[in-house]
């Protein structure tokens, strides 16, 4: 037994020597390429999303190289599987920065994996652009921005502000009521920013009612909201509660327009509450049928013969951010790219991306407003709060 173990260990050592050797040779041979890293889930629950992200990045690298690459050099992408595990994400980040010496990392999609890699990035002075990690803590911790963490998606509180702005400016709502989940960070964040923005614009919050995660009956709260007769009701939670509460609201004779966030879109919502949510609006990262994304969708489908997932769209824009950053930096150096990423100003397929220096988030990024019409999600417009 011990002998076998020793043998296996010896083989592993030999192999790793061989592999590092190879890598070094490649280094020498490919000194005129710029290496970028990708990390995300290629196995487990989120494998579909990860695969789409990696495919998208590979596709864009090829396209960019065909156009002559960046800074006169070809780009090479190296990707590893995080298995959706924060611990594994740290290992992957160490490997990408330490062994592969990439200049920038794209991904991961999950906030849980994007948060713990910050120390690795700081030690290696390599920037990371997260794709769909929406938790505020990914880029800002205890009020201080993390120097090497960036992201391409909007954050949870932003959606609330966008919903409020759209309700007031576009839908012309003067009064709003909020029903929210008091036990959920996502719901609370959206609620807080909806309220602040709506009031700042001159609107009036006429009712704010909470419920607890797991509740199924919202009629007491809704009856109270009905009394105050709001123009819109904001429902910042997930589709199951949305289905139940919207149906109950209609049962009580409430005719106000319903509003929500990216917790809404689901086939279950339509199958359960088709009539109740008809004519409602919600904020999303993008719309699949938006004309602005059609080109990327077609290219992706032609190459991989399937439709891209939502993550692909954001990975696409993360790559655009990288290209803009490295071009501005003028040098394939992680620290310089990080500094340049703070000044990124590009128009991606998911909206205009202008990174905030204090937040490292895309500021004022347009949200996609979708309306439910006849059981379909119909794109209305790109929208940014002003």
């Amino acid at each position: 037994m011990k002998k076998t173990l020793a043998l296996v260990l010896a083989m592993t050592m030999l192999l790793s020597i061989g592999l590092t050797g190879c890598a070094k040779k490649e280094d020498a041979a490919a000194a005129d390429t710029i290496k970028i890293g990708w990390m995300g889930s290629l196995s487990g629950d989120q494998a579909v999303w990860g695969e789409c992200e990696f495919n998208t990045v590979k596709m864009l690298v090829e396209e960019q190289n065909a156009k002559g690459g960046v800074l006169g050099k070809k780009i090479e992408v190296i990707g590893y599987d995080t298995k959706g595990d924060p611990q594994e994400a740290v290992n992957v980040a160490k490997r990408l920065t330490g062994q592969d010496k990439v200049v920038t990392i794209i991904g991961p999609n999950a906030s849980g994996s994007a948060i713990p890699i910050a120390p690795v990035l700081e030690a290696a002075k390599t920037p990371d652009i997260a794709t769909v990690a929406t938790n505020p803590k990914v880029t800002v911790l205890d009020g201080k921005v993390k120097p090497f963490n960036f992201r391409v998606c909007f954050i949870d509180p932003y959606q609330g502000a966008a919903a409020a702005g759209y309700a007031f400016d576009v839908l012309g709502a003067k009064s709003a009521a909020i029903l929210y989940d008091t036990g959920d960070d996502y719901s609370q964040g959206l609620t807080q920013f909806f309220e602040e923005t709506f009031v700042a614009k001159g609107g009036k919050i006429v009712g704010k009612e909470g419920f607890k995660t797991g509740d199924v009956d919202f009629r007491p709260q809704l009856s109270k909201i009905k009394e105050s007769a709001p123009d819109v009701i904001f429902m910042p939670y997930f589709f199951k509660e949305v289905a139940l509460s919207s149906t109950q609201a209609r049962e009580l004779g409430i005719t106000a327009t319903l509003l929500g966030g990216d917790g809404w879109p689901s086939e279950q919502l339509i199958s359960m509450a088709k009539d109740a949510v008809e004519g409602s609006y919600f904020v999303n990262h993008l719309d699949f049928s938006d004309p602005g994304v059609a080109d990327y969708k077609a290219r992706y489908k032609a190459k991989f013969s399937k439709e891209p997932e939502i993550n692909g769209f954001l990975a696409h824009d993360a790559f655009l951010m990288f290209v803009d950053g490295i071009t501005k930096a003028g040098e394939a150096n992680g620290e310089k790219i990080a500094a340049a990423l703070e000044n990124v100003d590009v128009t991606g397929i998911t909206g205009h991306i202008k990174i905030g220096k204090d937040t490292h988030n895309p500021e004022g990024k347009d949200a996609a407003i979708l309306k439910i019409v006849g059981g379909n999600y119909v794109f209305q417009q790109k929208y940014a709060v002003k």
């Binding site: 797991g214 009956d217 007491p220 009905k226 139940l244 009580l252």
Partner: protein, 292 residues
């Protein structure tokens, strides 16, 4: 005033859901002297059975309803035979029954997550969704139906307990298991009967709950409220369970409606503790000693 009436209707409707579930807890408690937490799991499965009978086997609603109730009755008896009878035979302390019941409840929830999946399912529409409107008050058709079905079930149950031979045997057993066994009552059979009745009610409650709020593995969590209602009304007393449930539903609704929904559970539980401190047997309970 209008708001008051609407909230009263909301409260009665929520209360009648609690009542149907609470009676099952009370019934088993009156005989076995322990809280059968597996009841929540059986209700949850009742909702799933009803859903599958309706969608996969395409049964007409009444047939699916009855079939679901019969299946859960059988399930409740199976749970009694496997999880409780071995304990009874060994004269285990009551605490063991409660732990066994909790185990059964967790088992049922997880077996559903593992086999059917954690996502929720929606019942096909059986009753028209548009509510009955009286002025600007609205009463859901499903609520009316639930109220009527609950009333019929509870009425039948009271009739069976008060006016049939088996009902008398159940009453006798609830006073003293040993005494009625000495008088020639087959107590083992009575226990099976009680579980079967509890299972029937669980099936009815499950299907009604599923129709109103969709079906998902954590329904058992909601049934805890009905357990509280049963304690509130007096565990072991059927009228107590019904009154406790309706009161709890109305109190909750008024708290949410007039104070704040954050205070809903706070007030409901403070009330529960107050009732237990002032009247440990609950509103309608008879016996107080040594019950868990």
């Amino acid at each position: 005033m209008l708001q008051f009436l609407q909230q009263l209707i909301n409260g009665l409707s929520i209360g009648s859901v609690y009542a149907l579930m609470a009676v099952g807890y009370s019934l088993v408690y009156s005989i076995m002297n322990f809280s059968n937490f597996a009841h929540g799991g059986v209700i949850m499965l009742g909702a799933y059975f009803g859903f599958f009978y309706l969608t996969i086997y395409k049964m007409p609603f009444i047939a699916a309803f009855a079939a679901a109730a019969l299946t859960t009755a059988l399930l409740a008896v199976v749970i009694e035979r496997t999880a409780y009878k071995p304990l009874r035979d060994r004269k285990a302390p009551f605490l063991y029954f409660i732990i066994s019941a909790m185990g059964a409840s967790i088992f049922l929830e997880n077996i559903v997550i593992a086999t059917i999946g954690p996502t929720f399912r929606t019942y096909p529409q059986v009753v028209e969704k548009a509510p009955v409107a009286i002025g600007s008050l609205s009463i859901g058709r499903l609520d009316i139906m639930m109220f009527i079905i609950s009333a019929i079930c509870l009425g039948l149950l009271v009739y069976v307990i008060d006016h049939t031979k088996i009902g008398k045997a159940i009453t006798a057993t609830s006073y003293s298991t040993k005494g009625s066994a000495l008088m020639g009552v087959n107590t083992d059979f009575i226990i099976i009967t009680v579980f079967a009745i509890g299972g029937l009610l669980a099936g009815v409650a499950g299907v009604l709950f599923g129709m109103k709020y969709t079906v998902y593995p954590q329904i058992g969590f909601i049934t805890l409220k009905s357990f509280i209602a049963a304690v509130f009304g007096g565990l072991g007393s059927l009228p107590g369970a019904v009154i406790g449930s309706v009161l709890l539903g109305v109190i909750e609704t008024f708290t949410s409606g007039y104070l704040s929904s954050q205070y809903r559970d706070l007030i409901a539980f403070v009330l529960l503790i107050t009732v237990l401190v002032v009247r440990p047997m609950g509103l309608m309970g008879k016996v107080t000693e040594d019950k868990a």
